[in-house]
Symmetry: C2
Subunit: 340 residues, 2 copies
DNA sequence: TTTGTATAGTTAAACGTTTAATCATATATT
DNA sequence: AATATATGATTAAACGTTTAACTATACAAA
């Protein structure tokens, strides 16, 4: 890599101190900064151009104590939900001149810890985290150290942090109600076995809907170990569909679960909706291309990203005064005539 | 954000200079670095622990001239191909202690330019780029400035840079041959209208296969403007399938094109393979869940990521001697009994 | 003439590291 | 006794910025 030109190089060539060069190139207006004659300023800008000067953001960061970088930790960036969320956050942050560095925790406490530490050591100005199960202490620590922070997708009710999440309760309550209104009665729900509130709420929404329609006896919750491989998820669904035939509709509470469920449904030639009512999560081409197209819970991902960035920018800029923001966004049930 | 403890804080507390603290905490072994008595070292480590010292990587980067960061520029991180590629690169880079910052160019020259500049200003140690059409000058510039660089997915034959790409010619040659061997004759191919070599090669593979089976008269290439919306892609496919019925099989040359093609196929109730032979690109759940499961060209994404990281690490570490690496990986045709 | 103030800069420290050069003392070797 | 070597440190500069504090000159006003 060739040596880059620095302020010093320009200063030497023009015959001034680095201070004026810095001041000029930062475009400091009247009244503020160092005074420079217009011709000097012009000369400086010209030489900077000639030498192809580009500020070293690392040096700048060190001096200013701000890296214009935010760290994003998701479960897995190759998961379409997080991929799109990351993309939206990237876009929105760029509008503020911020760059985002992304890490995938794979829902592992250790990886999450390492990523947080790594990002912090790199002096990110703030963190956006979809926290994994068991990371409450990590998050509490960040909060206590007053690191600008916003949780997305999941949060800890015990902690009064910023967060932007789905109204998970409403999502499955509506989904379940929709199935019931369409004549389904023996409705099951498939979720991850997680203590995280978003999962608990999705289950709770289902339970309350079933109860409110006097279908308590038909409640059937299947909680799947998140460490299970995709194949194992499919097997678990098999139990539900094949061995335990006492079910006429099913709700999946994440995209991955939905898709793995579809594998099982397809393999066993189960027809939707004749044999089974179906509601999935998050949509995707699979759902649209399925025969018939599938009903699903659509999350407002762009909005989630935009709110998260807005909050973190607020934390970063008005470090002192910023109040806690806890935002709960509504999902939308995308209803396909033939399923659900 | 609370004030973080620095080397100076530890030095003051222990009563030594920052130099020894730095030396101790960097775990410099016998013979190298500063000599410190074992008890002093122990004390330093203990106080560092107590004060919860974490090195400021920004300061370190400035001093060492290396940020342990690589920049990755893809077309769109929310595209599953690039999402998974990014994930693999992230994983692999982390093994070397590197972090990756990702940017999406949206195939736009300007965005690509901005991202490159931004990443360079942030002093990334190297760049991995899936270059967009029209960015050859940007890439040439990087090369001339001796920025550690490796292209992925696409490359410029005019430029002798490092790259890791698919054997695109072989991919579509094999796909086309497979269709022909299965009795299809009037095979069309759908590609993006791009001057980029990877697209040209995918078309060339198809053309050569058709010619080598004496099917030159049946050649039908549809080049779609990449700026077109998804809906427009579907419309374009419509032309091919409906208006121009003179086709019995189709090859799509990217995942997005494949999926949009499937929308058209589904909407028009075209049956695969009775009405149309089908070969798509990159796979995905859609392909597996389709009825029938679809044949597709599988790219070795992990391998692509690993090779790219290996090369960039080599550039970064042996800055002087590193020879140019140009790696061409074979695809695999995933054959489903019923399609293609 | 002195004072005030506007203009056009310079100096030097600081951000938190790393590291080459130097220094002081104790012990071992000739 | 003089010299060499090992041990255990310190000092100071450097990475490339930013910025508060200061200086110097010119001109106008009192």
């Amino acid at each position: 890599m060739l040596k880059k030109t620095s302020l010093k190089d320009i200063a030497k060539k023009v015959g001034v101190s680095t201070a004026v060069v810095s001041s000029v190139l930062n475009g400091i207006g009247k009244g503020k900064g160092i005074r420079v004659s217009t011709e000097r300023a012009k000369k400086i800008r010209q030489i900077a151009e000639e030498l192809n000067y580009k500020p070293n953001e690392i040096a700048r960061s060190l001096k200013k104590g701000s890296t214009k970088t935010i760290g994003l930790i998701v479960a897995d960036i190759s998961n379409p939900f997080f991929g799109y969320l990351a993309r939206c956050i990237e876009n929105e942050a760029l509008k503020f001149g911020y760059i985002v560095i992304i890490g995938s925790s794979d829902e592992e406490i250790n990886k999450s810890d390492l990523l947080i530490e790594n990002f912090l050591n790199r002096q990110v100005d703030g963190l956006i985290i979809a926290p994994s199960e068991g990371t409450i202490e990590q998050v509490r620590n960040l909060y206590q150290n007053k690191i600008p922070l916003v949780l997305v997708d999941r949060f800890f009710p015990e902690l009064s942090t910023n967060y932007v999440v789905l109204n998970n309760y409403q999502a499955t309550f509506n989904a379940t109600s929709h199935l019931i209104k369409n004549g389904f009665r023996r409705i099951a729900i498939v979720a991850y076995k997680l203590s995280l509130i978003h999962m608990k709420d999705r289950i709770r929404g289902y339970l309350d809907a079933m109860k409110s329609y006097n279908l308590s006896d038909n409640i059937s919750v299947m909680e799947i170990n998140p460490k299970n491989s995709k194949a194992e998820i499919t097997n678990a669904c098999m139990d539900l569909f094949i061995k335990n035939k006492n079910i006429d509709a099913i709700i999946f509470t994440t995209n991955l679960l939905s898709v793995q469920g579809l594998y099982c449904i397809t393999e066993n030639k189960i027809r939707i909706p004749e044999d089974l009512g179906f509601i999935g999560f998050d949509g995707g081409d699979c759902f649209n291309l399925f025969n018939p197209p599938l009903t699903y819970v659509k999350q407002p991902i762009e909005e989630m990203a935009n709110e998260a960035v807005k909050i973190i920018m607020n934390c970063v800029n008005n470090a002192k005064s910023s109040k806690i923001s806890q935002i709960i966004l509504d999902s939308k049930l995308i209803i396909r005539s033939l399923s659900g």
